[in-house]
Amino acid sequence: MTHTYVMTGGTTPDGVQTDMAIAADGTIAQLGQNLNTDGSEVIDATGKIILPGLVDLHTHLREPGNDDAETVETGTRAAAKGGFTAVHAMANSNPVADTAGVVEQVHRLGRASGWTDVYPVGAVTVGLKGEQLAELSAMYDSAANVTMFSDDGMCVWDPVLMRRALEYVKSFDGFIAQHAQEPRLTEGAQMNESALSSELGLAGWPAVAEESIIARDVLLAQHVDSRVHICHVSTAGSVELIRWAKSQGINVTAEVTPHHLLLTEDYVKTYDPVFKVNPPLRKDSDVRALREGLADGTIDTVGTDHAPHTAETKQCEWVVAAMGMTGLETALPVIQHTMVDTGLLDWHGVARVMSVNPARIYRHTDQGQLTDTGSLVSGALANLSVYDPNPTFVVNPADHASKSANSPYQGMELSGQVTDVFYRGHRVVANAELTTPYQHSR
C-alpha cells in the first residue's frame, strides 16, 4: 500500500526511534522500522521528536471585533507554526462569544482557515459581565458543540453565579474555566503586588486575589460535584491549593502559561508594556513552584494565553497598556527551556502537558492520542508536531505568523524549532514554514 508520507528516523515521546507512515485518509497508517517508502513523500525526521499535535486550551484569536490584532486565520497560522493542531478560542471577542451565533461564526472561520482545529469557548455570563448566565445549552447544541465555558479576562466573581454555572454544565459534561481574579482586590492592578510594585509606584495585583477565588471554586466544584478548570495559575499558593484539592478528589484541572514558567516581575522594572499581562508576572519562588507543579501533575496543562495586541495598545504608558502577550509560536521552545532542559520533564511529559492532558480535559477523541507508555497510536488521526530541539535562535516577532508583535521573548535566545506539522494528515507546516491549509469538507 502506498502512503502519502513516510517519516523516517523520528523519536516518539517514549524515546523509541521509529518510522511512521501517514495514509491518504489522514490517519497514522503504520509505525515501525524500515517502512516501505515507495511512492511516498519521505521526510527525514532523524534527531527530531514526534509529538502528538499540541492542544491549547487558552488562545485569544480576537475575531470577531479586533482583527487589527489577530484573526482566526492569522492566529491559527501562528498556532500551526508553533506546533498546535487544536486551539480553544476564548470568548472575549466583540461581540462576546455568548450566543450560539457567535460561537458558530468562530467555528466556521476555524474550518475555513484550515490550519488547526478551532474550538470556540463560550462565555459563562452575558457579555462577560458576571451578572447573568449566558445560554450555555444553546452553545452546546450549536454546530460549535461548546463544552468549555469561560469569562476569561474577567472572573466569574459572584459565588452564586459560579455555583449555578458549575451545576448547569453537568447536563452535557461541560466545564467552567475560571480566570481567578477577585475583582475588588485588583482594582486598577498593574503588576504583582510586592516590594517592587511599591517601588515602581504601580498598583499591585496580590496573590491572594487569585488564591481566594481558587479556594472558593474548588470547594464549590466539590460541593456540587462538577468540573472546574483553573486558567493560568500564577502563584505558589495557587499550586498548593490545587494540590490539596486534588488530594481530596475534587474534579479540578489547572493550566500554566509558558510566560509564568519563565519570566518574573523583575522585567516590569523596564516599564515596557510588553511585560504587562494578566495575571501578572510573579516572583522567582512562584516560577519555581509552578514548574514543580507542572512536573508533578498538580498542574495538568500548558495554556499559552496567546493574547495578541496592536502596537498602539502596547507602545504607551504602562498603566493604560493592554494586558497580554503572544505565545503560540514560542510555547514549545519555552517549555523546552523551562521544563526539559531543567530535567523536570522528559518529552513524554511534554506530550502529556501540551497535548494529551488538554485533549482529555476537553474530551477530544482525535487530538492528544498517545498510549500510556508514550507511543503514538496507529489508526489515529495524524495530528502531529515534529520538533527539532537543537537549533538555537533569537526570538524576533517579525518572523511570527501572528498579526501582533507583543512577544516578551523578543531578543531572547531559545532552542528548538517546530519543523513539520500534520493536521488531519495534511502537512500544514514543512521545514518550519507554513504550506497550505487543510480543506475541510463543507
Binding site: A195, L196, S198, L200, G201, C316, E317, V319
Partner: protein, 316 residues
C-alpha cells in the same frame, strides 16, 4: 548624568553635585540681575500631562535664569480619556527640537519610557510620574534641610545622621519615594509614619523604619518632620475611617505641634497644604516650617539639574 529620572538610581556623587551646584545657583537668585548666559540657545520643553502650576513655574523660572528658551506644552490626557499617545506627542516635540524635556505625567514610569525606548534624544527630567518618583522635589527638600542645618557651611556636606520623619500617605506618594531613596543615599535616617493602610506592601525591605506612633517619634526630636498632603480621593477609598481620625493619628495638630514648638525640629511640606487636615495653622505658620524656602530652593535645585544635564552640550 544624561537624564534625571529617579532618585532610586541617583548616586551619592551625583546627588551631592546637584546640591552643591544648587548652592551656587542660589547666589544668582540673590543678585539683582537673576540671569546666567549658560544655556543660551538651548530649549527646555515643559511637557505637562497633569496640571501643576507650581512645578511648571519653578522649572520655567530655572530655565529662564539660565537663559534657555522655554516651551510650555500642556497635554490633556488621562488614564481614562486617552488622546494622542505619549510616543506621538514626544516625537512631535522632537521635530521642534528641544534639548531637555521636563515631564510631569500621571503614569508611573512615563519618564523612564521616554528616556529608554528611543522615542526622544533629549535629556529627560522627571517632574513627577504617577505614584513613582518626583526627584527634583526630593532634591529641593534635601537642599532645604542641608541649608537649615549647615547654613553657609553647607557645600560638600551630606545628611549623615540626620533623622527625617515622613508622615502620611506613603503608598500613593511619589514625593515620599524620592525622599526615601535620596535621604538614604545621603546618609539620613528615615522614619515613615501614617495609617498602616497607606504603607506600601514590602516597605520592610526599604531602608527605613516604620513607626505608627507619631507622638512617640516626635518625642525623639527628629531633625525634620515632613507632612505629606492627604489627597481627597484617599478619603473616599476607605483607607481610613474619617478625616478626623486621620488628623488625630497623623496630623500635625496644634496639640502635637506644641510638643515640638521651639525645638529644632523642622516642619516640611511639599505643598499645597491642607490646613486643618494634615497640618494645623499654628504649625503651618511657625518659623519651623520651611515651606516657603522649599519653593525658593526649588528654583535653585532645578537650575542645577538643567545646568548639569545641558551645559557643555552644543546649543541648537
Amino acid at each position: 548624568m544624561r537624564h534625571l529620572l529617579a532618585t532610586r538610581e541617583l548616586s551619592y556623587d551625583h546627588a551631592l553635585a546637584i546640591l552643591d551646584t544648587a548652592q551656587e545657583m542660589a547666589t544668582v537668585s540673590d543678585r539683582s540681575i537673576k540671569k546666567l548666559p549658560t544655556l543660551r540657545g538651548q530649549t527646555v520643553v515643559n511637557l505637562f500631562f497633569e496640571d501643576s502650576t507650581r512645578t511648571r513655574t519653578s522649572f520655567e523660572a530655572a530655565a529662564k535664569r539660565l537663559s534657555a528658551d522655554v516651551l510650555n506644552f500642556a497635554v490633556k490626557t488621562s488614564s481614562v480619556s486617552k488622546g494622542e499617545s505619549l510616543k506621538d506627542t514626544v516625537q512631535t516635540l522632537e521635530a521642534i527640537g528641544g534639548d531637555a524635556i521636563v515631564m510631569r505625567h500621571w503614569a508611573s514610569g512615563a519618564a523612564q519610557q521616554l528616556a529608554n525606548f528611543g522615542w526622544s534624544s533629549s535629556a529627560i527630567i522627571n517632574a513627577g510620574d504617577g505614584t513613582h518618583e518626583h526627584p527634583t522635589q526630593a532634591l529641593l527638600d534635601a537642599f532645604t534641610l542641608r541649608n537649615r542645618l549647615h547654613g553657609t557651611q553647607a557645600t560638600g556636606k551630606d545628611l549623615n545622621g540626620v533623622h527625617v520623619v515622613i508622615v502620611g500617605d506613603i503608598l500613593h506618594s511619589r514625593v515620599a519615594r524620592s525622599n526615601v531613596w535620596l535621604l538614604h543615599t545621603l546618609g539620613a535616617k528615615v522614619t515613615l509614619s501614617g495609617p498602616p493602610t497607606l504603607m506600601p506592601v514590602g516597605v520592610n525591605t526599604w531602608p527605613v523604619e516604620v513607626n505608627y506612633d507619631l507622638d512617640g517619634i516626635l518625642a525623639q526630636h527628629p531633625d525634620a518632620v515632613m507632612m505629606l498632603r492627604v489627597q481627597a480621593e484617599r478619603m473616599a477609598g476607605a483607607f481610613f475611617p474619617s478625616p478626623a481620625e486621620y488628623t488625630r493619628g497623623w496630623g500635625l495638630t496644634n496639640d502635637r505641634y506644641q510638643t515640638i514648638a521651639d525645638t529644632d525640629t523642622l516642619i516640611m511640606h511639599p505643598g499645597p497644604m491642607n490646613r486643618g487636615l494634615e497640618i494645623s495653622a499654628a504649625a503651618a505658620d511657625s518659623a519651623q516650617n520651611t515651606a516657603l524656602e522649599q519653593v525658593a530652593n526649588g528654583v535653585s535645585v532645578r537650575m542645577a539639574v538643567l545646568y548639569l544635564l545641558l551645559a557643555g552640550q552644543p546649543g541648537q
